[in-house]
Subunit: 244 residues, 2 copies
């Protein structure tokens, strides 16, 4: 059994203020548990799970705190409409922005939709992006909807927040590709495996001060009528090209 | 003023059963209104909007039924947390699947997340896809979350539902590229502007019977750790390559 106070503490991790104070977040579902147990067991504070899941994973859970809960309690702890067997309280990863020495860095200016940020993290993970750096006014990477949409990729891709202007200013020698609606065709980029891809806010794009710091303004040519692409879709297209 | 019965009728269009019976759907927000007024004014049954929006758009609204509402009433009609000035009741587009004669057709097997389907429609619109054909068990294209995520592209891209197996069977002469996790590198495709891109369910991928009908199994190479890409991101990457 877990006390009402603990239930309340876990529910309160839905609030950014509480997450920031405590340096914790909540991850849910079987897929996330697999990623945590495999890649970051030391970050797990506690897993709350149904008996069959605990039984099936007993050998992998040796040094991890696990509390058995029933479906009613799991539903109370969960932020999902359909809770999926297990939920974990996890220590945040606390990454710092790193200078670009190799690989691709993705910088995100004022991404506001949590589903988009989660999908961006998952997409960056697929393409082996070295780090993601978000502007300070972006949605919190530990927001439950970001965590869910990242499908566990938050375990692998370092995500940090800082002033993008200052960070970019310090990276003088690398290509910086800014995604815009009217630049040169992205397929003309000749990537050499190192650089910074800069993506902007869902409706406003990149701020002018960041655009001015780019070495290239790149565009995915439009063939039809949509005014824009979803930011995660556009990022996937550009990363796939930069990784060819 | 509009009656309680009309308010209830509009709210009920949130339900698929009611949408199907009446052949109507609800579109919301300034961007959607622009698309409707410009590209499909004959489909609009009625726009409900705030006075400033009506005033600003008066010249474009000549032959369209428009009812002025206040913010309280707009909030009651809206399915959004932050209603955006106007909402329209619209006749569904009633497209039928067409044979492939030119351009790209996107077929979608059992897409279940409405945000994904909306983003797929928007992405298909950007790349000038000729039509989207969904399996009968896909999420309804007129689901409010699909409509919202499509950002108005539902006006331009014909979306229909049918048995994909039967439809594919009738398209004998065109390339059919099936997205899979272990196929040939998509960058090896030599597109000639005509063909069918086949995308599968978010967790299960394409069904075996559809995979067997493909001419090519194609894959976006993975560089990092994510188990899969979001279906809309993957579709964007493949369409961008097919449109080069």
């Amino acid at each position: 059994m877990i006390s009402k106070a603990i239930i309340k503490d876990i529910q309160n991790l839905g609030l950014k203020k509480v997450r920031d104070e405590q340096g914790l977040f909540v991850a849910e579902g079987v897929k996330w548990m697999e990623e945590l147990v495999r890649f970051a067991p030391e970050r797990i504070r506690c897993i709350y799970a149904l008996a069959p899941w605990i039984e099936a994973n007993r050998s992998a859970l040796k040094s991890i705190a696990v509390v058995e809960v029933d479906e009613i309690l799991l539903a109370r702890l969960s932020q999902l409409q359909t809770p999926n067997q297990a939920i974990a309280v996890v220590h945040q990863f606390l990454h710092e922005p790193q200078p670009v020495e190799s690989g691709l860095t993705l910088i995100l200016d004022t991404i506001q939709d949590p589903g988009n940020l989660g999908t961006l993290i998952r997409t960056a993970d697929w393409f082996g992006v070295t780090q993601i750096i978000c502007s300070p006014d972006s949605v919190d990477a530990y927001n439950p909807k970001v965590v869910q949409a990242s499908m566990g990729s938050l375990v692998r891709v370092p995500v940090s927040q800082t002033s993008l202007f200052e960070w970019l200013h310090a990276q003088s020698e690398v290509p910086k590709w800014a995604a815009v609606l009217a630049g040169k065709n992205y397929s003309e980029i000749k990537p050499n495996g190192v650089g910074v891809l800069m993506m902007g806010n869902e409706s406003k794009g990149l701020s002018k001060e960041l655009l001015d710091m780019a070495t290239d303004h790149v565009t995915i040519p439009r063939r039809g009528g949509a005014e824009s692409l979803n930011v995660a879709v556009a990022t996937g297209i550009l990363l796939s090209s930069l990784c060819r």
